[in-house]
Amino acid sequence: MVRESSIVYRTVTDVRGPLLIVDNTHNVAYNEVVKIRAPNNELLTGTVLETGSGRAVIQVFEGTSGLDTDLTAVRFTGETMKLPVSTEILGRILDGSGNPLDKGPPLTAEDHLDIYGSPINPYARQYPRQPIQTGLSVIDGLNTLVRGQKLPIFSGSGLPHNRVAAQIVRQAKIPGEEGDFAIVFAAMGITATEAQYFMESFGETGALEHTALFLNLANDPAIERIITPRAALTAAEYLAYESDMHVLVILTDMTNYAEALREISAARSEVPGRRGYPGYLYTDLSLIYERAGRIHGRKGTITQMPILSMPQDDMTHPIPDLSGYITEGQMIVSRPMHRKGIYPPIDPGPSLSRLMKEGIGEGMTRFDHKEIQAQLYYGYSEGRDLRDLVAVVGSEALTNRDQKYLRFADRFENEFINQGEFEDRSFETTLDIGWNLLSEFPERELKRCDPSTIQWAKERGAYKIL
């Protein structure tokens, strides 16, 4: 389409929160990028949210401070937002919109990709089936992560989700298969200290040169957070689908992202949905989360691990709630478990990995994985229920069977879930610890396991009846 992109408009009529309203515009396209020159000559960027009737509504990523209606100049570029991509993006530190923050040269570009991407045709997708060994028993044993999955960590303020995420990044691997591995890290509104922690942690393992960092820190413009995850995922898509890499994308903290979205929605006086978040929050989040997966005929994969802090640890808050409806499971960091000194404090009850069922078993982890996972879950939830009972009636009132479940639940937390921050357990180790704990129970109590599997575990010496 032929457009004059050189026209500079000085017809700003309103500056409202993060929005800029320009009048007398002609043929401005929806979602196109806008360059704005502030009265102090600072150059800002925005995109068109609404266009028509000679009027354009623009969201300004850097915030609107310093803009006015007289001197501010606006130029429409005629293009949607694009990110220059190449494998050289690895090892670089960028700001939330993808501009270099380090002292390095400008990004070289093999290609310029639209940061909004396009939906993957479901017919082209390949179902994720390769388990990732994170070395954490509570994940590997009970809720295995699979390559191409989007598995968020739901946490709360003051909980060690960053340590857990860093440990996963350090240890994650597919046993017996070392492919090209890359990390794309997108920070949205986290503190400099937290960002520093991740960088140090990547540095220790030498992962930094395989990492592209997109940093929008707490003191950076809030509206830029709308761009950050999209820019990061665009880089990830290039690395995975064009350069055959296995990419792990960490997005932290999605709560800050959603708040930026709410700010814009409020400024546009849209009808709010729950808790003031826009009605399209679900759709918007899905446009981010669904950019994970595998595609037939392409080697690379994108695995997403978004981190989000639940306000007041409330899982029914719209952000974790809507995320949970889109992502393929969730890891819940539990405050009570953290207080008990268990690390990683991931509560198996509400945690879930939806893709696990296809990624475990013979040839992937071990043939007994499904059965032992079901049995461990059963035992632990029985034990937890009994704890409530004990609190009322005392442990003397319990039957012998119940006593066993109670002891099992304690041991399960201390020996299975609990592990060192630098302890890297294999699938084998994790499952054997599980069998060892199940030795609390007689064979008859193991209803979730096939008799032949129990026999196998006995011969292996993993399940020993006390």
């Binding site: 457009r3 609404e50 009737s53 939906p119 399209y280 949970g324």
Partner: protein
């Protein structure tokens, strides 16, 4: 006829306003912009009309053309639907992949049915016969399971003047000519087009008296669905909505399954695509895809097409119903559809009612569910077909008091409530037996008595009573501990434990347990209830519950689930015999000890 052309006036997300489209009608399809994106008119004004666009609108600018097409949003119906996977507006995804690669780009036009492929048409009428809309004029063996009936489309009535002989034809070749009362000749081809927003007509509704057997014990027993019935399955994330609907799609004894993934995960559709072709339909033994149509509008695909996908799906279902088939339609999830309504409504600036949803949410949902039912189809001989509608609902925060769940519950007759606590314990299917219900028990009672056993209703009532009592007792146990309960009540707790663990839990992943033939369900329930009755009797006579829990038949009962589909009868016979023996031994002992008199 040259179509009316207008210009884009403004754009806001999927909503585009256009000026100068004179004479354009409500719900007419238009092509928007230079890229010819597909859209549908949803508001008509004096000069300006509003269009919802089924494709992403980034880069569109005011002044670009908008062209009317004269047609309402329609689907193509005919041989070739079965086994297809479509997007929300009936574009085949494999073709889209061929055209635009792994990612879906914009402005692609693909038609729903393959116009090149030839199908074997076998005529069943002769020249000179009178036909009306819905009359069957021939058949096409479409897959190993489905033989498509070719019907006279709506609006054509008269005498057949020409009909082709058996042979191979494409769906757009004329196979029949009909002369109406005015002497006009109508050409009929295998394909017909139907607008999606209005239900296809039928002769009359008929009673629903056959269950849709899902192979899921908890459902077939406690909240059975009828063929032609409507059901909703609400639950928070992770409670197993999608797994349950997938289980229905795989195992339900419908002849055709239409599965619409509406605003859900891409990988879930992929799972169906990869897994279902290798699964066998339990009724016919043929590959599952030979009876299935998939519609995928994943959450990252355009929101307006999500709104349309539900209508497209139910129209396809109606086409099969009119052929006299039992169709099951699964919609996952109706909440995402409602959110699409909300988003569009918000962009139109309509006054919101509850939680931002438009005021017409309830009536739209009702219109959708009313398209289910068991009916006599139009045209000549009585063909009875049915559409069973099962919709997932995704309430925010798992809170059933929200508008979509509540509006749905006012309409549907079966309610499968998923329970977060059960899911957290990995108790699957996580359906809460006490809050869920089915209003079809009475309609289906006759069928159940005839096909299973006359004692079926009693068994179900008894099992439900045990679960109810168990719930009450558990509250007491929480307060005072199990020791405070008398033996008779402990027996109830044990009975409930058996029902829950040995009967209600069912693994969707286990190769045998994933599907339970209704006969096996009956035998399993009967065994447990018989055990319970005997246990209750023994306890009344002073036997300690712990003593009964040592019976070795309990191990067999715990493994009833994995008795094979074809030989469960003999396994169940053995278990019942063993149970009789063990109890008999106990009662003999009691008799010797003088607790009972021998004749009992």
């Amino acid at each position: 006829m040259a179509h009316e052309t207008g210009q884009i006036e403004s754009i806001s997300g999927p909503v585009v306003k256009a000026r100068g489209l004179h004479g354009v009608r409500m719900y007419e399809v238009v092509r928007v912009g230079h890229e010819q994106l597909i859209g549908e008119v949803i508001e008509v004004g004096d000069d300006i009309c509003t269009v919802q666009c089924y494709e992403e609108t980034s880069g569109l600018s005011p002044g670009e053309p908008v062209v009317a097409t004269g047609d309402a949003l329609s689907v193509e119906l005919g041989p070739g639907l079965i086994g297809s996977i479509y997007d929300g507006i009936q574009r085949p995804l494999p073709e889209l992949k061929e055209m635009s690669g792994d990612f879906i780009s914009r402005g692609l036009t693909v038609e729903g049915l393959d116009k090149e492929k030839k199908w074997t048409f076998i005529p069943s009428v002769n020249k000179g016969e009178m036909v009306e809309p819905g009359s069957v004029i021939g058949e096409v063996p479409e897959t190993g399971i489905i033989t498509s009936k070719i019907m006279i489309p709506l609006g054509i009535k008269g005498e057949i003047t020409e009909i082709v002989s058996k042979g191979d034809y494409t769906v757009v070749e004329t196979i029949c000519k009909v002369k109406d009362d005015h002497g006009d000749i109508h050409e009929v081809m295998m394909m017909q087009k139907t607008a999606v927003r209005k239900g296809r007509p039928f002769k009359e509704r008929v009673p629903m008296n056959t269950p849709l057997i899902t192979g899921q014990r908890v459902i077939d027993t406690f909240m059975p669905q009828a063929k032609g019935g409507t059901g909703a399955i609400p639950g928070g994330f992770g409670t197993g909505k999608t797994v349950t609907l997938h289980q229905f799609a795989k195992w339900a004894d419908a002849q055709v399954v239409v599965y619409v993934g509406c605003g859900e995960r891409g990988n879930e559709m992929t799972e169906a695509l990869e897994e279902w072709p290798s699964l066998k339909d339990p009724q016919s033994g043929r590959p599952l895809m030979e009876r299935t149509v998939l519609i995928a509008n994943t959450s990252n695909m355009p929101v307006a097409a999500r709104e349309a996908s539900i209508y497209v799906a139910v129209t396809l279902a109606e086409y099969f119903r009119d052929q006299g088939l039992d169709v099951a339609l699964m919609a996952d999830s109706t909440s995402r559809w409602a959110e699409a309504l909300r988003e569009i409504s918000g962009r139109l600036g309509q006054l919101p009612s509850e939680e931002g949803y438009p005021a017409y949410l309830g009536s739209r949902l009702a219109q959708f569910y009313e398209r289910g039912g068991r009916v006599k189809a139009l045209g000549g001989k009585d063909r009875i077909g049915s559409i069973t509608l099962c919709g997932a609902v995704s309430p925010p925060g798992g809170d059933f008091s929200e508008p979509v769940t509540q509006a749905t519950l006012r309409i549907v007759k079966v309610f499968w409530a998923l329970d977060k606590d059960l899911a957290a314990r990995r108790f699957f299917p996580a359906i809460n037996t006490l809050t869920s219900y089915s209003l079809y028990h009475n309609n289906l009672e006759k069928w159940h008595r005839e096909h299973l056993g006359t004692d079926w209703p009693d068994l179900v009532t008894e099992a439900m009573a045990i679960l109810q009592k168990d719930q009450e007792l558990r509250e007491i146990v929480q307060l005072v501990g199990p020791d405070a309960l008398p033996e008779s009540e402990r027996a109830i707790l044990e009975a409930a434990r058996m029902i829950k663990e040995d009967f209600l839990t069912q693994s969707a992943l286990h190769e045998i347990d994933t599907f339970c033939p209704i006969g096996k369900t009956y035998r399993m329930l009967r065994t447990i209830i018989r055990f319970t009755r005997k246990m209750t009797r023994a306890v009344k006579l002073g036997v300690n519950v712990r003593r009964i829990l040592e019976f070795s038949v309990l191990d067999n009962i715990a493994r009833m689930k994995i008795a094979p589909w074809d030989s469960y009868e003999s396994t169940m016979d053995k278990i019942e015999t063993k149970m009789e023996r063990e109890f008999q031994a106990l009662f003999n002992e009691l008799t010797e000890a003088g607790f009972i008199t021998p004749e009992i």
